[in-house]
């Protein structure tokens, strides 16, 4: 028997599943997919890597002190950030820039982070560029994380600073310090509460759900790109239920009880 009060949840999940299936099937058959609008921050990563080489400074990548959440409700953000990590590594490998990755505090995410970095170098045919010492770990605390990153900017220099993923207050100091040391900042988080810091301090911003779209876009994988189109189906659905809800409510229908299902 279905749990009471979850009919809407199930309905929405089924709708989203159908949308994802539909677009992925299209991608599988090689059919034309809706194009995703430009996200300037994606191209900015490549440009920033080139800039770092010109300045002879390393590229820094961080996902946040709490950015390695694999078994919480923020796992999707971790996965999106890892996609952008893969893209950044490939850009660095292609152009020959040094990359320093500031590993999140959750130790359980380290194997995935190292795997992504190592494989991305391998994909570009330059496995020898992988250096484990450039995966820096500072414990699971935003205090140690932010201080150590800032120190690293000062010590190693910073040409491009990519901060994406799950960020709390820990984003302000790295973004500010990187700008202070002359870096180009690219970043964003889907945690709305902290998005302001990225809006104010980055040169190229990934605002809220743009992070996911960017992650899919840089993957170069048609299934990933296709699934972004299904997000939009969900958005149309939400817009529709809000408009219908307002109309019905104006007509005297008790929407509070209908939404309770």
């Amino acid at each position: 028997m279905i749990r009471s009060g979850t009919y809407w949840d199930l309905g929405l999940l089924v709708l989203m599943s159908i949308a994802v299936y539909y677009y992925m099937r299209k991608a599988g058959r090689g059919e034309k997919l809706p194009s995703i609008r430009d996200i300037p921050a994606v191209d900015a990563i490549y440009e920033g890597v080139g800039r770092s080489i010109e300045l002879d400074k390393p590229v820094h990548f961080a996902m946040g002190a709490s950015g390695g959440q694999l078994y919480s409700s923020l796992v999707s953000m971790t996965l999106a950030a890892l996609m952008l990590l893969r893209h950044t590594v490939r850009c660095c490998a292609k152009l020959g820039a040094r990359l320093i990755v500031h590993v999140p505090g959750q130790t359980e995410s380290i194997p995935l982070v190292e795997g992504i970095v190592r494989d991305a170098y391998l994909e570009e045919g330059k496995p020898e560029l992988f250096r484990r010492e450039d995966l820096r770990y500072y414990g699971y605390s935003s205090t140690s994380f932010t201080q150590a990153i800032s120190d690293s900017y000062a010590r190693d220099g910073v040409g491009l600073n990519v901060c994406v993923g799950i960020w709390y207050t820990d984003c302000v100091m790295p973004l500010g310090a990187a700008a202070h040391y002359g870096a180009m900042n690219v970043g964003g988080t889907a945690r709305w509460i902290m998005a302001y810091a990225f809006a104010m301090m980055t040169d190229y911003l990934l605002l809220a759900s743009e992070l996911y779209a960017a992650g899919a876009k840089v993957s170069g994988n048609p299934y990933m790109v296709a699934s972004v189109a299904s997000e939009d189906i969900g958005k149309y659905f939400v817009i529709l239920i809000i408009i219908i809800g307002v109309i019905l409510m104006a007509l005297g229908v008790n929407m509070a009880s209908i939404f309770a299902y």
């Binding site: 028997m1 279905i2 749990r3 979850t6 989203m16 994802v20 078994y71 409700s73 796992v75 999707s76 953000m77 996965l79 999106a80 996609m83 130790t107 359980e108 380290i110 194997p111 795997g115 992504i116 190592r118 494989d119 391998l122 484990r132 010492e133 995966l135 820096r136 770990y137 414990g139 699971y140 605390s141 935003s142 205090t143 201080q147 207050t169 302000v172 100091m173 500010g176 700008a179 202070h180 889907a190 709305w192 302001y196 810091a197 809006a199 104010m200 301090m201 809220a208 759900s209 996911y212 779209a213 994988n221 299934y223 990933m224 699934s227 299904s230 997000e231 969900g234 958005k235 939400v238």
Partner: protein, 213 residues
């Protein structure tokens, strides 16, 4: 073939099975499923905690390589410092009470808390830095950001509401009306995107979980 199955397909299948189990339990609660879900919850905590020494390894390795590059007195001091701190806290926890011992609590409060409290203050200055360096009112969006920020700031600082009482209800209105509208739209879109990532992961089409060797 078998290698691909063990190294790639089986972990993907595991993600699918576990994820679907958790989802089914949510919609169709059954004591057996709930027990599995609760067990999985415990497992995740144990797995994460058992892996804790990976962090120590990576930290030590980066420290060691840093020392290799900088074999000076300051290099040695920076190399040894985290290990001294580590030992100090281990000693604190060796007293009866483990991490609740007065010795550990003393260290925790006076070292850790002092650093955390100060670290949370530093962004204040970076916000000022951003306001000075980057916050240019050159578009209507930038103006909206600044107005939203300043009006809510005035509401939070008694001096402003004392000098100009209408700032209080205006600031509260910003918080409870346009802020709610913008925030809600963003939260809904992020949630939809998360569901898509989740579904993609479950069906084994999320590149991060497939391609890692």
């Amino acid at each position: 073939m078998a290698e691909v199955f063990i190294k790639r397909d089986l972990p993907l299948a595991l993600i699918f099975i576990i994820g679907i189990l958790v989802i089914i339990e949510f919609f169709f609660p059954h004591p057996a499923l709930s027990a599995i879900k609760a067990e999985l919850g415990t497992w995740t905590v144990i797995i994460a905690n058992v892996s804790i020494f990976l962090g120590l390894f990576y930290m030590s390795y980066a420290q060691y390589r840093m020392l290799q590059r900088q074999k000076t007195l300051s290099g040695y001091i920076y190399f040894i410092t985290p290990f001294v701190a580590l030992c100090l806290f281990f000693i604190g926890a060796a007293f009866p009470g483990y991490t609740s011992s007065p010795q550990y609590q003393w260290l925790y409060q006076n070292i850790y808390r002092a650093q955390v409290a100060m670290y949370v203050s530093l962004p204040l200055f970076y916000c000022y830095y951003a306001a000075y360096r980057a916050f240019r009112i050159r578009s209507i969006e930038a103006l909206a950001l600044m107005l939203g920020g300043l009006l809510y700031t005035f509401r939070q600082i008694p001096l402003f509401t004392y000098l100009c009482p209408p700032l209080h209800p205006i600031g509260e209105w910003v918080l409870l009306v346009p802020n709610v509208a913008g925030g809600r739209g963003a939260v809904i879109c992020v949630a939809l995107a998360s569901i898509v990532v989740g579904l993609r992961t479950l069906v084994g089409k999320e590149v991060t979980t497939i391609e890692v060797r």
